[in-house]
Structure formats: structure tokens, C-alpha cells
């Protein structure tokens, strides 16, 4: 349990694709107008990332270095196509609203970098674990961004079919729902996140120092 917590912490603070490496910006910004859409995209990326990691780890171990990228790209494209079809079947309305961003996940750098750097050199189980932790990190990040943007642009959070109103719509203009607002909202969140990260690092350094002083 403690190991899992440590792994999630590392993935969340050091490798978060949303706030640290900024690898999947296109689906992230395009799909975060509302909390619902953000969750849809988050679960889609979680699904695709874990499946494609496992497949890449199964197929790419013995593939020569020169064709690793083309093979990984084809595997990712197949998984995204299947996921796209499943998404359309399960929730046609949201699929239509998220339109060009779901297929675009196929060429996002996040999947290829994880596949090439990690999954193609490790056994399937480790690759699956890595995909799931990274996918959950992405889900948390995009959920936070969607929540902030929807709250600040409409004052109401819609979760599935129930809605919660926090303040009247007139209080904020619709800025955070528009594309420029997406950049600013992500910039603000990333600022807060890196302050949090700095504080954590200082705390860890202080603990280490205390431990050494005890010795």
C-alpha cells in the first residue's frame, strides 16, 4: 500500500503530463470546457494509455530500434480507433462534442514517449501499471482544469445530469470558457502546482536533513 502511494506521488509530482511535462496539451485544452467533457477525455486517455502500453511492451521488445517509432505509432493508432468507436457507441452526444480531439490522441507525444521510453523495455505488467498511474494522473489534472474552467465561466458545475450552482452566472464573464481562457487557466493552475511541488521538495529535504542529524 505504501509502495503504491509512493508511486502515485512520484507520478503526480514529477511526471504529471498536465502540470509538469505538458505533453498532451492538445486534448487537454480542447476537451476541458466543462467538467463532464474533461472526465470523458480523462477516462479515454486512461483507457488508451494502459492498453497501448501493454501492446507495445508485448510487440516491441524484439523490434529493431530503427522501426520502433513507426510500429508504436501504428499500435497506438489502432487502439485509439477502437476506443473512438467504443466511445461513439457508449456516449454519442459527448463524442460529437469532443469531435476532433479524440482521434488526435493518436498522435499525441504522451503516448509515444511513454511507449518508446518505458513500455518497449519493460514486461507487460509493469507497462500496464505505468499506463494506469500516468492515466490517473492525467485524469486528475484534466478534471481539475475542467472544474476550474466551468466554475469560473458559468458559476455552475454539471456532473452527469445533476447541476450545482455556486454563484450567479453574471459574476464572471465567459472568458474561461473560450480558447484564450484555457491557456490562462492552465497557466494559473500550473503556477499553483509548482508552488505546491516546491513546498513538498523543501519538506522532503528538511526531513532528510533531520534524519541525517539524528545519525
Amino acid at each position: 500500500m505504501k509502495e503504491l502511494k509512493e508511486m502515485m506521488g512520484r507520478s503526480f509530482y514529477d511526471e504529471s503530463p498536465v502540470f509538469v511535462t505538458f505533453l498532451a496539451l492538445c486534448p487537454l485544452l480542447g476537451a476541458s470546457m466543462s467538467f463532464n467533457k474533461a472526465l470523458g477525455m480523462g477516462f479515454f486517455v486512461l483507457f488508451v494509455l494502459s492498453i497501448s502500453n501493454v501492446l507495445i511492451s508485448l510487440f516491441c521488445q524484439k523490434v529493431p530500434e530503427a522501426v520502433k517509432i513507426p510500429v508504436s505509432l501504428s499500435i497506438i493508432a489502432m487502439v485509439v480507433t477502437l476506443g473512438d468507436m467504443a466511445f461513439e457507441l457508449l456516449n454519442p452526444d459527448m463524442h460529437f462534442e469532443l469531435d476532433p480531439y479524440i482521434p488526435l490522441v493518436a498522435l499525441s507525444c504522451l503516448l509515444l514517449i511513454r511507449g518508446k521510453d518505458f513500455a518497449s523495455q519493460s514486461p507487460p505488467a509493469a507497462a500496464f501499471q505505468d499506463g494506469v498511474t500516468l492515466g490517473v494522473t492525467f485524469l486528475v489534472g484534466i478534471g481539475a482544469l475542467g472544474l476550474v474552467r466551468e466554475l469560473l465561466s458559468t458559476g455552475t458545475i454539471v456532473l452527469l445530469s445533476s447541476s450545482f450552482t455556486f454563484f450567479p452566472r453574471e459574476l464572471f464573464p465567459e472568458f474561461f470558457g473560450t480558447p484564450p481562457g484555457a491557456f490562462v487557466a492552465l497557466g494559473l493552475l500550473a503556477w499553483g502546482f509548482s508552488e505546491l511541488k516546491n513546498r513538498r521538495e523543501e519538506r522532503i529535504a528538511a526531513e532528510k536533513e533531520a534524519g541525517e542529524a539524528k545519525k
Binding site: L25, T81, C109, I113, F183, S194
Partner: protein, 183 residues
């Protein structure tokens, strides 16, 4: 001719694909800051985006769609992207080693986005040519401008937590806001 210009020209600035549709943001923030290299990179991405968009659109429109194979478009596009990666990535004109691959992949994402938009809006081939040319030109322009701005930001007094990409996001947001006034 005039209709084609009216269709394509907004994609240059007011509806720049990076700022309104978020396509291809990775190379914008991770490309080189050296002015000379960025010139090469933005010229290269102009070529790659235009070429990949037109090729992807033609493959979809003239081959896959008539054969009822439209569901294969992502696979075909990823083959197109990887062949472009092999072609341009090995010539080392766009930086060094593995980073160059990801810069190229980012521009390919942009191309896929533009091609999908054109397919969804049911553009004809001539319309697609005009739209993708102006979109690619706008993208290359933005790449160049942002590299210069990032170079200036390096020396500016920015709070520690904002250094690097977050302040770049703010800059891009403000640019997008200003350009929306042109609509």
C-alpha cells in the same frame, strides 16, 4: 479565387489553429530558442504541415472514403506521419536526435488536426489547399514569434513557479485574446 481566400485567410491570424484549436502546441514550447534554428524549424514545419495535411486529406477523400475504409484513417495517417518522420527526421535539419522526432510529431499532430477539421467541414480539394496553406503559414509565423518571446522571457523577472512553460501559456493566452479582436 476570392472565395478561397475568404475561406483560408482567417486561419492565418484570427483563427490560428494553435490558438483556437490547440493543435501542435508541443513544438511551440519545446522548440529551440536560437533564432537561426527557429527559422529553419518554422520553415520546415510550414512544409510538413502543408504536405501532411494535403496528403492526408487526399488519401481520405480519394482512396479511403470511396472504398468504404474511412475507419482506417487514423492508421493511414500514423503511417504517413512515421514516413515523414523517417524522411525528415534523419536529415537532422530540425535539431538533434530524439527531440527532433517529437518536434516533428508535434507538427504532424497539427496536420492531422487540420485535415480532420477539413474532413468534418466537408471542404473540397481546392478549399482544403487554401485552408491548409494559410493554417500552415500562420503556424510557422507563431512558432517564430513565440521563440523570440521566449528568448526575451528568459531574462525577465518571472516568479520561480512560473518559469518555463506556464508563463509561455500566459503569453499565448494574451496573444490569442488580442487576435480574437480581428474576427
Amino acid at each position: 479565387m476570392k472565395e478561397l481566400l475568404v475561406l483560408g485567410l482567417p486561419a492565418l491570424l484570427a483563427q490560428n489553429m494553435a490558438m483556437t484549436h490547440f493543435f501542435g502546441l508541443y513544438p511551440l514550447f519545446n522548440g529551440s530558442r536560437n533564432t537561426k534554428e527557429v527559422g529553419k524549424l518554422s520553415l520546415g514545419s510550414l512544409g510538413v504541415v502543408f504536405l501532411a495535411t494535403v496528403l492526408g486529406y487526399s488519401l481520405y477523400h480519394f482512396v479511403l472514403f470511396p472504398l468504404n475504409l474511412a475507419y482506417l484513417h487514423l492508421l493511414v495517417f500514423s503511417w504517413l506521419a512515421s514516413s515523414l518522420l523517417v524522411l525528415f527526421g534523419s536529415s537532422k535539419s530540425q535539431g538533434q536526435g530524439i527531440r527532433a522526432y517529437f518536434l516533428l510529431l508535434g507538427t504532424n499532430t497539427a496536420a492531422l488536426g487540420v485535415a480532420l477539421l477539413g474532413i468534418n467541414r466537408e471542404y473540397s480539394f481546392a478549399q482544403m489547399l487554401s485552408y491548409s496553406f494559410f493554417a500552415a503559414l500562420g503556424y510557422a509565423l507563431l512558432l517564430y514569434i513565440l521563440a523570440y518571446l521566449r528568448e526575451q522571457l528568459e531574462e525577465a523577472p518571472v516568479p520561480r513557479g512560473l518559469r518555463g512553460i506556464p508563463v509561455g501559456l500566459f503569453v499565448l493566452g494574451i496573444m490569442a485574446m488580442a487576435l480574437q479582436g480581428l474576427v
